[in-house]
């Protein structure tokens, strides 16, 4: 059964229909890439799937359960991990504390008023950081991290909840090409090993075609093509609107 199913999602901002009827499904262990030019509506799709935006129309189902319009914090507890196009982390905490906070939140231990938080889940947090290659930076303040490291931190925080689904909006933006491939290879490994479904957007076509199992192409709010990387790469419509080469 698909981990995530979206049907006929629509979102309007004033007169602008940012997403105009998108349906998709992600399978366990699958790496699904959502690509499209800037302004195509990718982030809006992510925000509807992740609960940040409520769709005007359409439905979202997670493991068969209708979660349309459900708040992000509830989705988080249902196993949806997220990274954002513009990174969002806790600048006043160290890298390790960021992950510890995510662990505390996911384990529903945030409402504890007495024991010292930085002694909780230390090993787990360090393990997660090691997985994303951030172990050496654990004690640095998150506020001073380089952009690429912030992306890694976000991934570690998303993984803290043992997600069944990862929603990653431009997870490698701001990274060097070599780093990008490495990070996405890591994500791919996680998807395979743990059966996590991954939906991601990416501008680097090498990464997309190298790591994705399947690709969806979005243009002006509509899906115009989908299929294996090879099939999509060959699709003339895709080449026209997205890759910029005339058919």
């Amino acid at each position: 059964m698909s981990v995530l199913v979206a049907e006929g999602l629509r979102k309007r901002f004033g007169a602008n229909e940012a997403v105009a009827g998108v349906s998709l499904a992600v399978e366990p262990g699958e790496m699904l890439a959502l690509i499209g030019p800037n302004g195509a509506g990718k982030s809006t799709c992510f925000n509807m799937l992740g609960g940040q935006l409520r769709p005007d129309e359409g439905a979202v189902r997670l493991g068969g359960q209708d979660v349309t319009g459900m708040a992000p914090r509830h989705l988080a507890h249902l196993g949806v991990g997220r990274t954002f196009q513009i990174t969002a982390s806790f600048a006043s905490m160290t890298v390790r504390e960021n992950v510890q906070t995510a662990l505390l939140a996911q384990k529903r231990q945030a409402w504890r008023f007495w024991q010292a938080a930085d002694a909780q889940h230390v090993g787990l947090a360090e393990g997660l950081l090691a997985r994303v290659g951030m172990a050496s930076q654990a004690e640095r303040p998150a506020g001073v991290l380089a952009y690429g490291d912030l992306k890694r931190l976000e991934l570690a925080m998303a993984l803290a909840g043992d997600p069944v689904l990862l929603l990653m909006d431009e997870p490698t933006a701001g990274m060097a090409p070599a780093e990008r491939a490495a990070l996405m290879a890591l994500v791919r490994g996680i998807a395979r090993d743990q059966g996590v479904a991954v939906l991601f957007t990416e501008h680097d076509m090498d990464v997309v075609f190298g790591q994705a199992d399947r690709v969806l192409v979005l243009d002006r709010g509509r899906l115009i093509a989908q299929g294996t990387p090879e099939a999509v790469r060959a699709d003339p419509r895709v080449r026209a609107v997205y890759l910029g080469t005339a058919a």
Binding site: G50, A88, S89, E97, L104, W111, W114
Partner: protein, 614 residues
């Protein structure tokens, strides 16, 4: 019908006056983001300067106009000096710090004005034309009020032209939207800010000068207008001139009709309006959500638990505090008792302001509720001190839960102003519900039980409850709750995405802050033996803000250092003359020297020293 028309005109005149006061404030805020507490002082200076000019000029209308404009220009110059000498140096600091600096200016101006113009209210003899009335629907309406009705919209029109038809105005509006872009355009931001501040100050001076013929220039003008000016600005939407005008109209007209229908509403009317508007429109009538303000990013410096050295220092200080009664005289002991109370009062505000990211302008409300709860336990229930001390945090916390539901949805200055509105409503209830609260005469005889009646015991009790309470709060801030709370402040988006309920966490912080302040209020009530509405009045809320900012928002030791420093300073200065100018200058000096607060500066020095040693 005619009467209604006349009341409407009266309301319009009132609205014009309000708008003139608020216009400068909103202009200054829009561009520089400075919450200028000294705006009322500039207004007062405008009135005094106008008096000095006009009482020397011939009494013809053209000279009147000249004198009023002269006062406005003089106030603008004062504003420019203020900006260059003081505010310019702290634009990089967290924005609330400027509020603190301008509060210092308020104190200084009060003593300077007393010095220059003397204590007696100065009224301008009105020439015949200023006294005149026009007959409207068979009733007399002051000619000067008609003038004001015209001046308000005229000033609005002039400002709109200035902002929309000149290059300077274009730059100012650009700076309002994106200050970095203006810098990128190669415009000297400093000149822009100085000129905007001067314009705002000039408008305040104009307002004061125009108010002069209606009454007198007096030393209470500053504080009597500042709260209402803020209300108008916030109701209108901060930075929005049109909004301020609409808000002034709304309030002016409601006031004119309101006091005819419910005469006793005078104390709270404007705050009721503000609370109602903000609950429905969290950014005022025409305001937009604020972009993240300058300084907030710096405010997110990491918070570290105390290192071993600091812990030792803290223990030594605590030990000294515990042993104090063996050496301190009764007066010093009562100052120390107040300092202990101030520690919890400030620590509780710090919970919401620091890790919670919610500054409050009305924190005294919870202090007052706690104090009245204690008074009620003592006098109404005839119960012992334990009951009062237990009741207080619950009463304050419960009320904070109710109010917080509205407040925590908001952010920034709007949030702060909504807390102010609720605090003023609470204050007015205490002030006016004479049968229960004793009105402004307060509740007397709230003395501690016999066993705690002597000064040292009461002091130890205050120390136990207040410093203990502050330590409990501190513990919660380093517990998962505190991390989760800071998470919601640092990034609400991320906090929600990892499964945190930002709204409930903020609400919990608000309730915790309220309960802590309530307990401190109850201890204060027993230590002083009496409870008054002044406990929840604006100046007391300002005290809390000053304390936290002085100590440093972003350190856990900040509120403690601030509370002790401020209490001791204030009680010491109050014993001498001209304490306002001394305290004001001291606050300004501290702000300039330690923009991150005393504890913040100390920890920076400590880090550097250790860095060198290592």
């Amino acid at each position: 019908m005619d009467l209604i028309f006349l009341q409407l005109l009266t309301g319009l005149a009132g609205a014009s006056t309000l708008f003139l006061v608020a216009a400068g404030l909103t202009v200054i805020f829009g561009v520089t983001r400075v919450v200028n507490f000294s705006h009322g002082s500039l207004y007062m200076l405008g009135a005094f300067i106008a008096w000095s000019l006009l009482s020397r000029l011939p009494r013809e209308p053209d000279y009147f106009v000249l004198g009023v404009l002269g006062a406005a220009v003089a106030t603008a110059v004062i504003g420019a000096v203020l900006e260059v000498v003081l505010l310019r140096r702290i634009y990089r600091a967290p924005e609330l710090l400027q509020l603190l600096a301008t509060f210092g200016v308020v104190l200084v101006v009060q003593d300077v004005a007393l010095w220059v113009w003397g204590p007696v209210d100065l009224s301008l003899p009105r020439p015949r034309w200023l006294r005149g009335a026009v007959e409207i629907a068979g009733l007399r309406f002051p000619f000067y009020d008609l003038v004001l009705i015209v001046v308000g919209p005229a000033v609005l029109g002039g400002l709109l032209l200035l902002f929309h038809r000149t290059r300077w105005g274009l730059l100012v509006r650009a700076a309002t939207q994106d200050r970095d872009m203006v810098a990128a355009l190669g415009v000297d931001q400093r000149v822009l800010f100085t000129s905007v501040f001067a314009l705002g100050a000039g408008l305040a001076g104009l307002g004061g000068a125009l108010a002069l013929p209606q009454g007198s220039a007096n030393l209470n003008m500053d504080l009597s207008v500042i709260a209402e000016a803020f209300v108008v600005v916030v109701v209108g939407g901060m930075g929005s001139l049109g909004g301020a005008f609409l808000a002034a109209l709304l309030i002016g007209v409601l006031q004119a009709f309101g006091i005819a229908l419910v005469p006793k509403i005078t104390l709270v009317l404007v705050f009721l309006v503000m609370a109602a508007v903000l609950v429905v429109r969290p950014h005022g009538l025409l305001g937009k959500p604020q972009a993240m303000a300058r300084g907030e990013v710096e405010a997110l410096a990491p918070i570290r638990p105390a290192g071993p050295a600091l812990q030792v220092l803290g223990l030594v200080a605590l030990l000294a505090a515990i042993l104090a009664p063996f050496v301190a005289g009764p007066y010093l002991l009562s100052v120390l008792t107040e300092a202990a109370v101030a520690v919890l009062f400030a620590a509780s505000l710090h919970v919401m302001m620091g890790p919670g990211g919610m500054a409050s302008f009305g924190h005294a409300a919870w202090f007052g509720v706690g104090a009245y709860a204690a008074a009620f336990a003592a006098k109404g229930l005839g119960a012992g001190m334990a009951v009062g001390l237990l009741l207080a945090p619950f009463a304050a916390g419960a009320l904070a839960l109710l109010v917080g539901a509205f407040v925590v949805r908001m952010s920034g200055v709007y949030l702060a102003m909504l807390t102010l509105a609720f605090a003023q409503i609470a204050w007015a209830v205490a002030f006016q519900w004479v049968e229960v609260t004793g009105g402004d005469n307060g509740v007397l005889g709230v003395w501690p039980d016999g066993w705690a009646a002597d000064k040292p015991t009461m002091y130890w009790l205050a120390l136990l409850l207040c410093v203990g309470g502050a330590l409990v709060l501190r513990r919660a801030l380093f517990a998962p709750f505190g991390f989760a709370l800071r998470a919601t402040r640092d990034s609400a988006l991320r906090a929600e995405a990892i499964g945190l309920d930002a709204h409930r966490l903020r609400l919990a912080a608000f309730v915790l802050a309220g309960a802590g302040a309530g307990l401190s209020g109850a201890v204060f009530a027993y230590a002083k033996g009496s409870v008054f509405p002044t406990y929840m009045a604006i100046p007391h809320s300002v005290d809390a803000l000053v304390t936290v900012l002085l100590g440093g928002v972003q350190t856990m030791a900040g509120p403690v250092v601030g509370a002790v420093t401020f209490t001791v300073l204030q009680s010491w200065l109050l014993m001498g003359d001209f304490w306002r100018i001394k305290l004001g200058l001291l606050i300004i000096a501290l702000v300039l020297a330690f923009p991150t607060g005393i504890a913040g500066a100390a920890s920076a020095v400590w880090d550097r020293w250790r860095g060198r040693a290592a």
